[in-house]
């Protein structure tokens, strides 16, 4: 008997006219690791919630078809019994922790199941040990880092000892190190403990290779279902947006197989091309950005000089940070959590004053006069677009900013709505929009003042590939118009694709600063997947266009079939 049997499942959220799930038929066997991929609004999360029994129980709405768990209709199952069998971890760790202390949080689900104290003590102890939570066992949950919170959310579900783990983008809010930590744990749970894992993810480079089976969703339907390699092969012909970068690169050529990991990609690349000695060292041909002479000719948009800053608690966060960003530059700031990126951002927006050093933005001394001097000419987009949305309509949201700055010309509102494809939502409440649309409204609401400097804090968190590409292209277009863009991000792929310059921070210092090929090309860990694949074979390749330009001409004659590694095309 299969673990799950889904028959013709169709689901409409309350008051929705469009079905979130359309005629889904699916069988899931015990012990599988299933990756559910697809764009925003494709129905991934709805499917996960249906499998966890939350749809329609929690959401309401109209439902057709059946979901059977071990032969029993999931809707007729006792909720406690279902929770013992299926555990679900959500996207945002902040919004799934209930208790004040770690141990109490792990026990929360066990209390709901009505287990006796002895059993709860045993399970809590086991999970604390397995998840290595000993250090934070007595900690206040609000003080945990994002990674620790997500680990705790996973621990509290695992304590209930479910057979199925449903994970809805569990790493989307985390930095790369914490994300890796969670994914490794999930892999172990599947391989060593036999858990059935159903995981939704946007960042496929992290987890595509971990899955036994991939479900690709599109407009509420399952567009493709099969093993990771089968799905990779099937989808590689359609532009391949739902493939890891390495596979996407090889999907564009007549390669004998389709690699899913950097290791497989390197092996295939070495077998396919003849490496010329000088090619390894040759810089990339298609560099984005300007020469040092061009940069010198530009005016300075942001100038930080010998910045030092210590928080009142005594923690020294910035240590002698100097940075000069020219007008029209696109800079991405990378670094681990606690590296000082956000603190630096708060300095250059004038929200913090340095202990020592100077901050000049658009020719004004921000350190002395604060943000009021520059805000009229600076757009700042925080991590959460919801921070911007409170007016009744999208149009009012844009007018609010204009009114505050005393700007009378409201024609810019139409221009912005048009540019961000929001015209049809002009009279819609922004809170009724999807996450991608909300981000566009937030961005439009800060760009109505035609700022010279655009600052974005983690704009690609939880955003699908299409929106990410759209945002990247938009920002690049703004730099062409002479606007300066500074993005703080953990998303190396995004930075490599769209930024021209990379600033890498660590422990409060700028440890690397330069043209993206110089910085990312030298880094092993902060490098996009294509960069890792081409390292030592064809140095200087970071983006698809560069890879196509430099590697495609070398392929074709020497392509040797390698049966052992990828998918045969």
């Amino acid at each position: 008997m299969p673990l799950y049997k889904v028959e013709n499942l169709t689901y409409y959220y309350p008051e929705a006219e469009k079905a979130a799930l359309k005629d889904i038929t699916l069988i899931i066997e015990e012990g599988e690791f299933i990756l559910v991929a697809g764009g925003s609004g494709s129905g991934k999360s709805s499917l996960a919630r249906a499998l966890a029994g939350l749809i329609p129980d929690f959401y309401g709405g109209r439902v057709g078809g059946k979901v059977y768990f071990q032969g029993q209709d999931i809707r007729t199952m006792d909720r406690g019994k279902l929770a013992r069998e299926v555990g679900m971890v959500f996207q945002d760790p902040e919004k799934q922790i209930v208790q004040t202390h770690v141990e109490a949080e792990i026990a929360f689900g066990l209390e709901n199941l009505g287990l006796d104290n002895e059993e709860m003590q045993r399970r809590v102890a086991e999970v604390v040990c397995f998840m290595d939570l000993k250090q934070i066992r007595g900690a206040f949950t609000a003080n945990l880092s994002g990674g620790q919170k997500q680990k705790l959310a996973l621990a509290s579900v695992l304590a209930m000892q479910p057979r199925v783990l449903v994970l809805d983008e569990p790493t989307s809010q985390l930095d790369p190190v914490s994300a890796e930590d969670i994914l490794n744990l999930v892999k172990r749970l599947n391989e060593e403990m036999g858990f059935t894992v159903i995981m939704i993810e946007q960042r496929l480079d992290r987890c595509y290779h971990l899955a036994d089976r991939v479900l690709l969703m599109e407009k509420g339907r399952i567009a493709c279902d099969g093993s990771a390699r089968e799905v990779a092969r099937k989808t590689s012909r359609d532009g391949a947006p739902f493939l890891p970068p390495v596979a996407r690169f090889f999907a564009g050529i007549e390669a004998p197989s389709l690699p899913l990991t950097v290791k497989e990609g390197r092996k295939l690349l070495r077998s396919c091309i003849i490496i010329e000695r000088d090619m390894v060292l040759r810089p990339a041909a298609g560099k984005v950005g300007d020469s040092p002479a061009d940069l010198a000719a530009r005016g300075s948009a942001v100038c930080l000089k010998n910045l030092w800053f210590t928080y009142t608690g005594g923690q020294e966060v910035l240590k002698d940070v100097s940075l000069d960003v020219g007008e029209g530059e696109f800079v991405a700031v990378l670094g681990e959590n606690g590296a000082g990126k956000s603190t630096m951002l708060r300095h250059l927006t004038g929200l913090l004053r340095p202990d020592r050093g100077t901050v000049q933005v658009l020719g004004k001394d921000v350190g002395r006069n604060g943000f009021k001097e520059i805000r009229r000419h600076t757009a700042y987009l925080s991590q959460n677009p919801n921070d911007y949305l409170f007016q009744d309509t999208v149009e009012d949201e844009l007018l609010f900013t204009l009114k505050n700055f005393g700007l009378k010309d409201t024609s810019v509102v139409d221009e912005m709505l048009d540019r961000f494809r929001l015209v049809q939502y002009r009279r819609t409440n922004p809170r009724d929009l999807s996450s991608g649309e909300r981000q566009r409204v937030a961005l439009a609401s800060v760009l109505v003042t035609s700022p010279g400097l655009i600052i974005l804090d983690e704009p690609t968190r939880g955003v699908d590939f299409r929106l990410k590409a759209e945002l990247g292209r938009f920002l690049r277009h703004e730099t062409v118009k002479g606007r300066t863009v500074i993005v703080v991000t953990h998303d190396v792929e995004f930075a490599a694709e769209y930024a021209a310059r990379i600033v890498m921070m660590s422990s409060g210092r700028v440890v690397s600063d330069g043209e993206k090929h110089e910085v990312l090309g030298k880094s092993v860990f902060y490098s996009p997947q294509l960069g890792k694949m081409c390292r030592g074979i064809c140095d200087g390749v970071l983006t698809f266009s560069e890879a196509r330009e430099r590697i495609y001409p070398l392929l074709g004659n020497g392509a040797a079939a390698d049966e052992g590694q990828g998918v045969m095309m």
């Binding site: 004040t100 199941l113 949305l389 700055f405």
Partner: protein, 309 residues
């Protein structure tokens, strides 16, 4: 900045008591501070509290309570003589004031003000000690069986508070960057600006609450009768402390019944120690109240005591 005022697990002996034992002990201290009038008794309680606060490494937090307490003490000392006319020892003859009459300042009235301030200081110190000695989560856990839903609501609010403070700060910055000046304009304009801020908070909180509820349902909340995860196992130290608290309470009740701990300020203040039983009763009560400290010191220096409690 306010971290020091809240409970921090420092692994200290005095923080290792069962919350029920701590609550019983602090309740007795609070009750005695309200029942006793004798300044010597109140001073003794303050001294005991100072030692306990030192035992939980909380002098820094107590400093804030002390400053506020001493300020209030001075206020009571200044106000009390102006409204109380019962004292016999007049130290200053003041003028006639409408409604209040002649402003004669008596030493007894000032003395009473000072002792009232001292009582206030003792009460504040009890609350300071509570903050430092007992994990609020453990206290909540204690009441889980009786009022599970209320306890969960309090835990949720406590957990969300720092997040909301952080969100509020971030949203305010976002608003400032959109041209909102919270410090400028008339009172009405400022209220309007802040209402925008709270509007965003409210809308986001409502959306977030749905996600939290979903996560709770996914973990079987509301699916049946809940049990309570109890992390606090009572140990001999807890029984000893609770027993000592009860004995201190009985001793204090017996003493008060026999006039020990009572004190008359007017018209002339009593002597601090009028007879031997007054000192004896104080000694007995203090001995019982010192039990947690004795155990703490015993644990530090005696392996036998440590192994037994």
């Amino acid at each position: 900045m306010f971290d020091k005022l809240y409970y921090q697990d420092k692994g200290l002996f005095l923080q290792s008591f069962h919350p029920a034992a701590v609550l019983a002990y602090l309740f007795v201290l609070l009750l005695l501070s309200l029942l006793y009038d004798n300044p010597l008794y109140l001073l003794s309680l303050l001294l005991l509290l100072a030692l306990l606060i030192r035992g939980v490494d909380g002098f820094e937090a107590w400093e804030g309570f002390l400053k506020a307490g001493v300020f209030l003490m001075l206020v009571v000392m200044a106000v009390n003589p102006l409204v109380i006319r019962a004292g016999a020892t007049i130290i200053w003859h003041g003028p006639d004031v409408p409604f209040l009459g002649r402003l004669d300042i008596s030493m007894e009235a000032m003395y009473f003000g000072a002792v009232s301030g001292l009582r206030l200081l003792v009460i504040m110190s009890v609350f300071c000690l509570y903050n430092l000695m007992v994990n609020p989560d453990n206290v909540l856990n204690l009441f889980s069986r009786a009022a599970g839903k209320s306890v969960l609501m309090v835990a949720l609010a406590t957990r969300m508070f720092p997040t909301m403070v952080r969100d509020l700060k971030r949203i305010k910055e976002v608003m400032q960057f959109r041209g909102v000046d919270f410090e400028e304009g008339s009172m009405w304009e400022r209220v309007k600006k802040y209402s925008c801020l709270y509007n965003v908070m409210l809308l986001s909180s409502l959306e977030d609450s749905m996600e939290i509820a979903e996560s709770m349902q996914a973990r079987a909340y509301g699916s049946g009768r809940r049990s309570v995860y109890s992390r606090n196992q009572p140990r001999p130290r807890d029984y000893l402390s609770m027993g000592a608290s009860l004995l201190a309470l009985f001793a204090a009740a017996w003493g008060l019944h026999n006039g020990c701990g009572r004190y008359a300020f007017y018209p002339v203040a009593d002597a601090l120690v009028s007879d031997i039983p007054t000192l004896a009763a104080l000694f007995v009560v203090l001995f019982y109240l010192f039990v947690p400290l004795i155990l703490s010191e015993g644990c530090k220096y005696c392996r036998f005591i440590k192994s037994k409690i």
